[in-house]
């Protein structure tokens, strides 16, 4: 079976004043339809760059991305992005923010009444139907992110790209949002790539966890299949041996194999890490 998304041989080189900086080297990844894939790695390893390349917000230096047999060259609504800091337009209400996306995507195919229904359906999906007329400044961080997710879902994207969607939220809100996201996934079965820092989040939500090595010249280190049955429940999983094994695998990768050594003199230690990962 052909994969929905094919990231092949992607290198990303940024020209800097001191010469070229290779951020990504030889990133290869296939994502199937309906799959939930997490990208995990230390900060600065280029996870966001991978996501931005898939989104079309930046262009790979070499290699490319194919989505549904078409090459990705520019951003587009079929690759909806949920940004880390919600990125809602502060002058529009929750409804207005979703409306902007819906009008753009379905302006020609849906009638006004259908669009209204669709916007309300998506806001209801993220449990924000009670605050549709509130502006981003009037709602909490978690609620803003819900609206951001509703906006992305409302575009009916072929793939949903989430850039640390819950990174800026407190732990309780984050857990709540993860449960919501699983509930939505259960219903819609979207194809998702999510960037995260959070090991528990990755194991809980994903079908596969893609672990990235440290930069520069970061690449995919290991891929972990998560075969835990769905629906998943965080409380039940807390004592599940398989869950804890998987969690341990990720932790081992992050904190033993790819231990981030904060360099005091930023030269030697970093090159040492690259040699170790080979």
């Amino acid at each position: 079976m052909d994969s929905l998304l094919n990231i092949s041989q992607v290198d990303m080189v940024f020209p800097t004043a001191k010469g070229d900086f290779t951020a990504l080297k030889n990133v290869d990844l296939k994502v199937n339809k309906g799959e939930f894939v997490s990208l995990i790695g230390h900060s600065g390893c280029g996870k966001s760059t991978v996501l931005n390349i898939v989104a079309g917000l930046c262009q790979a230096t070499t290699g490319g991305v194919i989505l549904n047999k078409k090459e990705v060259k520019e951003p587009g609504p079929e690759r909806a992005v949920v940004f880390q800091n919600h990125s809602l337009l502060p002058w529009l209400s929750a409804y207005g923010n979703v409306e902007l996306a819906v009008k753009r995507v379905f302006g020609n195919t849906k009638s006004k009444a259908q669009m209204k229904e669709w916007i309300e359906y998506n806001l209801k999906l993220v449990h924000m139907d009670h605050a549709m007329d509130k502006r981003p400044g009037e709602i909490s961080g978690g609620m803003k992110q819900r609206v951001g997710i509703a906006r992305a879902l409302a575009m009916q994207p072929e793939i949903l790209l989430m850039d640390e969607p819950f990174g800026a939220l407190d732990a309780l809100t984050r857990a709540h949002m993860q449960d919501s996201l699983m509930e939505i996934q259960n219903e819609l079965n979207n194809t998702v790539i999510m960037i995260t820092h959070d090991v528990d989040e990755a194991v809980l939500l994903s079908d596969r966890i893609v672990m990235m090595t440290n930069g520069p010249a970061a690449t995919i280190g290991e891929i972990l299949d998560i075969q835990l049955p769905r629906p998943r429940n965080r409380v039940d999983l807390a004592n599940d041996p398989e869950y804890n094994r998987l969690r341990g695998e990720v932790l081992k990768f992050l904190y033993e194999k790819q231990r981030k050594i904060e360099p005091i003199k930023p030269k030697n230690s970093q090159t040492a890490v690259i040699k170790k990962t080979g």
């Binding site: 917000l57 520019e74 609504p77 992005v81 990125s87 337009l89 502006r135």
Partner: protein, 330 residues
């Protein structure tokens, strides 16, 4: 009965306490400005008594406030004269027609001097026209510069050079160019009006261009990315993302510009003898009567007051257009 009295007492107590808060608010809001104003008036009158000019003593507050009354009376008298002129003209024309039915009636306009309120009106119309012309040019220009880095690099040096040019330097050029280019058999506007207007526009356009372009260029990249992901058309991008995001900066520019426009206009009217408050001041200076200084001071106060009101008006407009009603706009 007894319960009623208790209730009344409670109402009375609450009334007194609310009265107290109102009073203390009034003290804070009104008392200090009043003390400031009184101190200023006192200093002014003391200073005025000690300044002797060739036109007599420097006018104190009372002389200036009297002058406001006189200026108004003058306006009323001039209005009566004008009405009388038209009545006479009408009568004369009717007589002529009665004598000679072939006579073609000529209506002549009244050529009496402009009174103080008329000069104020002229200045206001001119400043608003010049400012609006500047807005119409500056905001689209500022948006284009803000959106395109190369355009910004191309135009920015020119803006930086023209921005500090004094209106007095522009004026001779504008006067000559307007005289050369604005030649129509039946001009819709007075040449002097056009000269003042163009000078105002040239001087007040820059802060608006600069602020608009900065407002547009500094939009959150995440919001721009949202627009890119949605593949919004250029027009929708400007309408839905760029304009609302830049509104605060645009209004900051507009307020700066309107203040400059008003200052420039008075200077331009003085130098070019174009009708308006500036000309009024200059005429009084040339006139050199015992009244002149107090009349000039009266117009200085009016110029200041109008400048303040224009700024406040702009502020209200900003409040109306701003999407962020919670942020404090000063």
């Amino acid at each position: 009965m007894a319960i009623g009295i208790v209730e009344n007492k409670q109402i009375l107590v609450s009334m007194i306490s609310s009265l107290k808060t109102v009073l203390s608010l009034l003290m804070k809001q009104a008392l200090m400005p009043m003390i400031g104003a009184l101190a200023f008036l006192l200093l002014w009158s003391i200073a005025a008594q000690n300044i002797d000019t060739s036109l007599g003593k420097f006018p104190g507050p009372s002389a200036v406030f009297q002058q406001f009354g006189l200026l108004y009376q003058e306006h009323v008298r001039e209005g009566e004269k004008e009405a009388a002129f038209f009545v006479r003209q009408k009568q004369r024309n009717e007589q002529r027609l009665a004598q000679d039915p072939e006579y073609v009636v000529k209506i002549r306009s009244y050529t009496g001097k402009n009174t103080f309120p008329q000069q104020i009106l002229t200045s206001l119309v001119t400043v608003m026209s010049g400012f609006l012309l500047a807005v119409v040019i500056a905001i689209p220009l500022g948006i284009s510069i803000g959106l395109s880095k190369s355009l910004s690099r191309a135009i920015n040096p020119i803006i930086q050079v023209f921005k500090p040019v004094s209106p007095l330097a522009w004026l001779p050029l504008v006067t000559m160019v307007v005289s050369a280019l604005y030649v129509t058999p039946e001009p819709m506007f007075d040449k002097a009006f056009v000269t003042s207007l163009v000078t105002v526009t040239l001087c007040c356009i820059w802060p608006m261009v600069i602020n608009t372009s900065i407002g547009v260029a500094t939009i959150d990249t995440d919001l721009v990315n949202v627009s890119r992901v949605l593949q919004l058309s250029a027009l929708t991008h400007v309408r839905k993302i760029v304009l609302p995001a830049a509104v605060p900066m645009i209004f900051t520019g507009m307020r700066l510009s309107l203040g400059i426009a008003w200052m420039v206009l008075i200077a331009a009217e003085m130098l070019a003898q174009n009708p308006g408050l500036g000309k009024f001041v200059w005429d009084e200076y040339q006139n050199g009567s015992a009244e002149s200084l107090s009349r000039i001071l009266a117009s200085v106060l009016v110029i200041g007051l109008i400048g303040f009101l224009l700024d406040q008006g702009m502020l209200q407009l900003q409040r109306m257009f701003s999407w962020d009603k919670t942020s404090e706009i000063r």
